[in-house]
Symmetry: C2
Subunit: 240 residues, 2 copies
């Protein structure tokens, strides 16, 4: 996608809206910056807005009583942050943090709910996206149980890059460790392995993918499952 003008259609959910709905909704959206590390929602706190990431990535992560954390899902330009607003719960026990800086389209919670109850295309899109989010969470649970850190690192990298439509990522190993819920040193080792295999280069927070097929071969099935399910639920053609 061209970097050019910001436009709501950079977000795939918004892009999938029919013209009539888009005309009604787009004027309600606000284009806002998403600085790295910014906390959009805190666990248990009432949300006022939802966010449709355009050029940013948001992590949904769970912070435990002892401070340990784990990411449960990644949201980028394929989705929306704040599903609990239309699901009815208003809050969730998780935190939403900007993982990769950029921009997003912000929408007032009440406006979203009004639109949702019209039971039109937006409702359909939101529900289908929510299902894909559930798949991602479920897969994260499975992956945490069964797969090696190397595999999880690759999965995480691929999922993140897909959501940026890029093959570069700015992210320290420390942050990745927080996301994956592992030691920083563990990420150092995993990243080192992948780098030695010639699949990426990693220099002080800058990851570049050299061999994407190689990465996909190295990761576990979890990545493919999540991707396939998203494609199935929300087919997106870039040219739309």
């Amino acid at each position: 996608m061209a970097q050019s003008e910001p436009h709501p259609r950079q977000n795939h959910l918004l892009a999938a809206l029919p013209a009539a709905d888009a005309e009604r909704i787009f004027p309600q959206l606000e284009y806002v910056p998403m600085p790295l590390g910014h906390v959009l929602y805190e666990s248990g706190i009432q949300m006022r807005h939802v966010y449709f990431p355009a050029t940013s990535i948001v992590s949904l992560l769970y912070v435990m009583e002892d401070g340990a954390s784990a990411e449960i899902a990644i949201v980028g330009n394929e989705g929306i942050v704040g599903v609990s607003l239309f699901m009815g719960g208003e809050t969730t026990p998780s935190r939403a943090v900007v993982q990769s800086a950029g921009h997003a389209y912000r929408w007032a919670g009440q406006a979203l709910k009004n639109e949702f109850y019209l039971a039109g295309p937006m409702q359909r899109l939101l529900l289908r996206y929510t299902q894909s989010l559930m798949t991602q969470m479920a897969q994260t649970a499975v992956c945490n149980r069964h797969h090696t850190l190397d595999q999880q690192f690759c999965r995480w990298l691929l999922l993140s890059l897909d959501r940026l439509s890029s093959n570069e990522l700015v992210m320290t190993q420390e942050l990745i460790a927080n996301m994956l819920g592992v030691r920083r040193e563990g990420v150092t080792e995993a990243a080192g392995n992948v780098q030695r295999a010639g699949l990426i280069t990693y220099q002080r927070g800058h990851i570049s993918v050299i061999d994407r097929p190689g990465l996909e071969a190295r990761t576990c099935e979890c990545y493919a499952v999540v991707k396939k399910e998203l494609d199935r639920l929300l087919p997106y053609s870039d040219g739309l």
Copy 2:
């Protein structure tokens, strides 16, 4: 709850329906047996019905390519099996298996969808339940990452018992191991520890809880989070 007559209100979602909706919906439900091990849905296969467990428990579990498995959520009389029908995806990449035999109320998928699109109380209940299910999945992911098998065993036991409104469970260690995605021997050890601590008795597939507060103290925070979130989203009073 009295064991007496089967009645849809044994399921908390159905019980929460206002009289008018209940009168419309209940006649469409079919009271069906749920034999142990019965597979309600297979990964990727179109679903024809949803199930409201009354006296049974259903595990949503993920089976990997190599045969390893992991449970991502437990559904009992507090919920419904088959959320992807109204979420729009029709299928999920997971499998639904009866984990504790009993009965459930079955509802035709199309009837459910018709009701859902009325945007009445049933829709609200279903969406809120789905959110609680997401919490459970997320918590499972976190728990898999950070907590010991002992803690996970306690969490699993408590979640299961809550969904049976009982303090006894019929379940071999082999099955529990499949659910938790660990070795059978691991479960033997965890169960042994908990039994030696005087919190349960375990005899050839029959688990009885002796000291419930003790169990709750021994498990991780994950149990409380899931329970609290369910109570918040779907408050249920037994006398309703």
